[in-house]
């Protein structure tokens, strides 16, 4: 039976929602308080879901040490306590949580091979959450 394993992580970062393709008034209208030029921060809760058959020898979908190590190295160290707007990922993209979700999914998809990546889910606040499962998943 296929099993889906989900692990939660947390990092804190700041961002400002602003698009150079819009006027100042448009930015203000679209992004509201999130357009504040000094930025603001969130505690982002990340859920990474991987899936696969359960290995008979180990009882595992994948070794948590592999998953934790990869996420620590490639996600948390990259994003924790950073200004998202200054990162290369967001040089040409607004650091909305939608785009952050896609970025993290792509990093996982490119580099994590110990299990099949199913989904990335991010809680920006307790009230907002975002999920991305790749373009071809639905």
């Amino acid at each position: 039976m296929k099993a889906y394993l989900t692990r939660r992580y947390m990092f804190s970062a700041s961002h400002r929602l602003h698009s150079d393709t819009m006027t100042a008034a448009e930015n203000q209208s679209v992004y509201g308080k999130c357009n504040n030029p000094y930025g603001h921060g969130h505690n982002y809760n990340i859920e990474i879901t991987v899936s696969g058959p359960v290995d008979r020898q180990t009882g595992m979908v994948c070794n948590l040490v592999d998953l934790d190590g990869f996420v620590q190295r490639e996600i948390l160290e990259r994003f924790d306590h950073q200004d998202l707007n200054l990162l290369p990922e967001f040089a040409d993209a607004v650091p909305t949580t939608e785009n952050l979700c896609i970025s993290i999914y792509e990093i996982m998809k490119r580099g994590f091979s110990a299990a099949h990546l199913e989904r990335v889910r991010i809680e920006e606040t307790m009230m907002n959450s975002f999920e991305y499962s790749g373009e071809a998943s639905r």
Partner: protein
């Protein structure tokens, strides 16, 4: 189709050990989880059933029946037990959260009459949970590569489980 989820909690102890491995391999692979005296978790179980809403009762499932089945088949068997030594599935299988979710699915699925089991979710901690949906295909799944490489990584340390 309506989905109904019922939560329950149970506490149990376990340890991870494969007799086919040497003591060194077991220690390396399973880390702290290999301590033969076991350790415990407060598990949270979420059982999701699905079905059409009965026009007379307005229910997907009789919640009283569902609670009784969960108590009888799962909680009575697992709560305050040492999984490796007291629960038959784990005399041979390693009681990881993955195998625990599968065992709970197999205990519940044949007993549910009025509604269909959709998902079993087991939280080992608030930061780690496993979902199983049975053996059939599901439209929500991303059917990508089939080789998940679990074999290649089984010798790595798990440590935190």
């Amino acid at each position: 189709m309506v989905y109904l989820t019922r939560k329950a909690e149970f506490s149990a102890s376990h340890y991870y050990h494969n007799p086919a491995f040497t003591p060194e391999e077991n220690a390396r692979l399973f880390g702290k989880c290999n301590n033969p005296n076991g350790h415990g978790h407060n598990y949270t179980l979420e059982v999701t059933v699905k079905g059409a809403v009965d026009p007379r009762s307005g229910f997907v499932v009789d919640l009283k029946q569902l609670k009784e089945i969960m108590s009888r088949e799962v909680l009575d068997a697992l709560d305050h037990r040492f999984l490796n030594k007291e629960v038959p599935e784990f005399f041979t299988l390693i009681p990881t959260t993955e195998n625990l979710a599968i065992a709970i699915w197999r205990r519940l699925e044949p007993k549910l009459k009025s509604a269909q089991l959709h998902r079993v979710r087991v939280y080992e901690t608030p930061d780690l949970f496993v979902d199983v949906f049975g053996d059939e295909d599901h439209s929500h799944e991303d059917h990508g590569e089939d080789d998940h490489g679990a074999e290649d990584h089984r010798k790595e340390d798990r440590g935190k489980a």
